[in-house]
């Protein structure tokens, strides 16, 4: 079974630049999550999709972050403009409604200089 795919794996940008991350969940998984994990902390939920609808985006900094999930499959997360404090690993995860386990992708490590 193919896992959750993410790209790029690493990205270095300067502050005020824009960046986009891509996630392809496991086939058939209706729920998709984007997490931000700052070094030394647990993952923090940014946004949760159920198919192509947003379930929870309460912790998404909407002035600079946006996410979409077209056709209920792939998803992109964008940051515009980036700040130094956005340096983190961005994890994508997906799950089936009936299963409690979340499957994680390898993550994208973002460094903002």
């Amino acid at each position: 079974e193919a896992g959750v795919a993410q790209s790029p794996r690493y990205k270095i940008i300067e502050k005020r630049q824009s960046v986009a991350f891509w996630c392809n969940p496991i086939s058939g998984h209706a729920t998709l999550y984007w997490y931000q994990q700052i070094l030394g902390q647990g993952p923090k939920l940014l946004i949760q999709f159920q198919n192509n609808g947003v379930v929870d985006d309460s912790q998404l900094p909407k002035d600079r972050f946006s996410a979409e999930r077209l056709k209920g499959v792939d998803s992109t997360l964008k940051i515009q403009p980036a700040k130094l404090e956005d340096s983190a690993v961005y994890l994508c995860a997906s799950s089936l409604e009936g299963l409690a386990r979340g499957y994680f992708g390898p993550g994208t490590r973002l460094t903002v200089t």
Binding site: T31, G42, L45, V55, L91, A100, R101, G102, G105
Partner: protein, 110 residues
């Protein structure tokens, strides 16, 4: 406010020691509790617990849930250097949301 609290934040032990990691939670509409191991990459799944008192076991790792007292423990016996990692506890709600703790960083010294 829903929250998951893990303790200790970090732990250093010698190979062969036994460790116990703690996870307490306050999450409305609890569905399940999960343990993940995170090395220098994305978290990998260890256990999912839904019922109190039933121990889940995988090799040297075991975990149990107490839904009355709202906590779980993860035990690792005969630790090895390969057990060095951050161990994350997460609670899943019936709304399909995951709430993570900050993790326990375990270092096993040869």
């Amino acid at each position: 406010e829903d929250k998951v609290v893990q303790s200790p934040l970090s732990l250093v032990v010698h190979e062969g020691d036994t460790v116990t990691l703690n996870c307490s939670y306050e999450v409305t509409n609890f569905r399940s509790l999960l343990w993940y191991k995170q090395e220098k990459k994305a978290p990998t799944f260890l256990f999912m617990l839904t019922s109190s008192g039933i121990e889940k076991k995988s090799g040297r790792l075991s975990s149990i849930l107490d839904k009355k007292e709202l906590f779980s423990i993860l035990n690792i016996t005969a630790t090895q250097t390969g057990d060095s990692a951050v161990y994350l506890c997460a609670v899943r709600s019936t709304g399909n949301q995951f709430y993570f703790g900050t993790g326990t960083s375990l270092t096993v010294i040869p």
